[in-house]
């Protein structure tokens, strides 16, 4: 088992004819992911290295029965592309695009909440990787191998860092989920923690958070009430000044709210071990799984 992606995944990539979309989608296919389609308006009927391209998601779903989508289209068109995929009945949508306007994300989030069974991962995220099964997005799969640690993170490169530290210690992953660094993520820590809790392959969960918002605090409460598996956390941004956006649109300390310290304390108060460095996180994981 794994979460979100597995051997039955049939992936369709929006923006497959762009340079980023093409590069990463072909990487995903080379990893073994079943990439069945691409969508680029106006390029229907063509193909990208044998992957058929459609003008609309509706056509792609009809012709290929795709059940997952990656969104690589530019920020100004990305919200529309997510809505189109959801409207066509694609249940799992991973939006890689960075820089989508926050008000667009608000409308997308509200609309998707009304469509039962549709899950959005991201935007501004690296995607999802279930090692040995499927990779959708831009996660460099070579650093990860199958195993029993589930990873959920707001940051891409920090995920690779943590995953690599685990791999060096002989540990693998059930699934790695990048939920993204934007203020309105389609899926929260809580959503993904619930999936890992129910997944038999996952024995331990690593969550990597950062400054801004209160989704880590929300996760802490949820873990105490509903997660039986051990959770190890990392929080980035202890040195971030208030009022400044630290790279990710959602990474901002507002007044005294959203600090790394408050998040780490909230998690610790709910029994979650928090590593102060990525290395310490990996060491705690080894200790917990070895014991």
């Amino acid at each position: 088992m794994s979460v979100i992606l597995d051997a039955d995944t049939r992936l369709c990539a929006a923006g497959i004819t762009g340079s980023e979309g093409r590069f990463h989608t072909l990487n995903n296919r080379a990893y073994g992911t079943n990439v069945v389609a691409g969508v680029t308006p106006g390029k229907g009927g063509s193909d990208v290295d044998g992957i058929p391209v459609f003008d609309t998601f509706a056509q792609a779903v009809r012709e290929t029965a795709c059940n997952a989508a990656t969104i690589f289209v530019p920020a100004r068109f990305a919200a529309d592309s997510i809505l189109e995929a959801a409207d066509a009945g694609v249940p799992t949508i991973m939006a890689i695009t960075e820089g989508i306007p926050a008000h667009d994300e608000l409308r997308v989030y509200t609309q998707l909440k009304r469509l039962p069974g549709v899950r959005l991962i991201g935007p501004n995220c690296p995607g999802v990787l279930s090692p040995g099964k499927a990779n959708a997005g831009i996660i460099p799969a070579t650093f990860f191998r199958p195993g029993n640690v589930g990873v959920v993170s707001r940051s891409g490169t920090l995920t690779y860092q943590v995953g690599n530290e685990l791999a060096m210690r002989g540990l693998g992953n059930s699934t790695i989920v990048g939920i993204g660094g934007d203020p309105v993520p389609g899926s929260s820590f809580v959503d993904i923690l619930a999936l890992f809790e129910a997944d038999p392959q996952t024995e331990l969960i690593v969550m990597s958070g950062e400054i801004g918002g209160d989704s880590e605090e929300e996760a802490a409460v949820y873990i105490a009430a509903s997660v039986s598996k051990p959770v190890v956390a990392y929080i980035a941004g202890f040195t971030a000044p208030a009022g400044r956006t630290m790279g990710h649109a959602g990474a901002i300390v507002t007044g005294s709210k959203g600090t790394a310290k408050a998040k780490a304390e909230a998690l610790e108060a709910c029994g979650v071990q928090v590593g102060r460095t990525p290395t310490e996180v990996a060491e705690i994981v080894v200790e917990l799984l070895g014991g």
Partner: protein, 398 residues
């Protein structure tokens, strides 16, 4: 992007919100000319993005030209919480019977716009929320439904707005919400929203005027609002931040002496934390982004080194999309072009890490040290910034 008061007011006025007559200006002469147009008494207000203007003496009433010249002269150039006052707003003084508070905030937790209204304006709203939470009426608006007149009525009655002002307050809130959505803001706040003197209880006798405006716009939406993008005031910005923006780099100036570059926002934040844990002080946040090419690396090094406080630099790259050999090539080019006078510690790992490390080793650059892990790299750069030389076993041949 945070707007200055007068810029925020321009946006509100665009959506029909009533304002005093007035102008933003930069000289005492212009202040006097504006006052002639408005008629005395006038208000002079410092235009800075930080709070506490009133207490700092940045807001004054002037009854005649002599008073205005004295106040305007004193406020221009004044320092308010580290910001230099370069612009003033001068406008008509308005009679004040009551001060309200109104705002629309992008509520990340609820994932919908949050509207707030209170009869207790003119003070810090956080204080009102803490001391007398019932005095602050709030509600969330469904972003797909948008603002409806009943929202305004509900807020107005909950806040205890007098009957004759319920309709005008509702009309005002509709315009405030239109500003929030139309300009793609994350915050639109009017504090105080004043009620002008007049017979209470008689509809139409008393008016609402927005005396202040605090507006924060979504940077990611500025491409749809070129007129707002042009409001970005670079005068207050730090020279390194301006330079970085011109080069398309994400850079935040900090007050330490260790320059930092990494790829990915989370990894860079983590690197800053690690340097601090080792007792160092980061000079900046700089995310070179995914797929950093050699040219971008060179541009980033230029920005980092233009900060004279920087005594040592740490590169922390975990290559995913970013290829470490590209980063190494960029760094070698930067060394050749810029001849940095400070030591560099470089940690390259991930995609093409071995190739990147081999390139650096072959180039044997003076003052360039390599490290295997983030922890080692952070410890080494802190030691170098303190003037200690490379630690045994961690320095490269360079």
């Amino acid at each position: 992007m945070d707007l200055l008061e007068y810029q925020g007011k321009q946006l509100l006025a665009r959506h029909g919100i009533p304002m005093q007559a007035g102008k933003a200006l930069t000289t005492v002469d212009d202040a006097l000319a504006t006052a002639e147009e408005c008629g005395y008494p006038v208000v002079v207000k410092a235009q800075v993005r930080v709070g506490g203007r009133g207490k700092a003496g940045g807001i004054k009433l002037a009854r005649d030209a002599d008073e205005l010249a004295a106040h305007a002269g004193a406020i221009l150039g004044m320092q308010i919480t580290g910001c230099t006052v370069r612009e003033l707003w001068v406008g008509q003084a308005v009679g004040i019977a009551e001060e309200y508070y109104a705002s629309v905030v992008f509520d990340r937790r609820a994932k919908s716009p949050l509207m707030m209204l209170s009869r207790h304006g003119g003070v810090e709203i956080e204080t009102v929320a803490e001391e007398d939470p019932d005095a602050l009426a709030t509600l969330h608006v469904d972003p797909l439904l948008g603002y409806q007149p009943f929202h305004g009525r509900r807020l107005a009655f909950a806040a205890g707005i007098p009957d004759d002002l319920v309709a005008p307050v509702g009309d005002f809130l509709a315009k405030l919400y239109a500003t929030f959505v139309g300009e793609e803001a994350s915050l639109v706040e009017v504090n105080p929203l004043v009620v002008t003197p007049g017979a209470a209880g008689v509809p139409g006798e008393r008016e609402l005027v927005a005396l202040d405006a605090k507006v924060t716009l979504d940077d990611n939406a500025l491409f749809r609002h070129p007129e707002n993008a042009a409001l970005r005031d670079t005068a207050d910005d730090d020279p390194q931040e301006r330079m970085a923006r011109a080069r398309g780099l994400t850079y935040v100036k900090l007050d330490g002496d260790i320059g930092i570059l990494g790829n990915g926002a989370g990894l860079v934040m983590s690197t800053l934390d690690l340097v601090a844990l080792h007792g160092g002080a980061p000079a900046n946040f700089l995310d070179a982004g995914g797929g950093s090419k050699a040219e971008a690396i060179k541009a980033a090094v230029e920005v980092i080194l233009s900060n004279e406080r920087v005594k040592a630099v740490l590169f922390n790259i975990f290559g995913g999309i970013t290829r470490c050999d590209e980063v190494a090539r960029g760094l070698i080019a930067a060394f050749a072009a810029l001849e940095p006078g400070v030591p560099f510690v470089v940690r390259l790992d991930g995609t093409n890490g071995a190739e990147g490390r081999a390139l650096l080793a072959a180039s044997a650059l003076a003052g360039l040290y390599t490290a295997e892990t983030m922890d080692e790299a952070a410890a080494l750069v802190v030691a170098l910034a303190r003037g200690e030389s490379g630690l045994p076993g961690t320095a490269s041949d360079g």
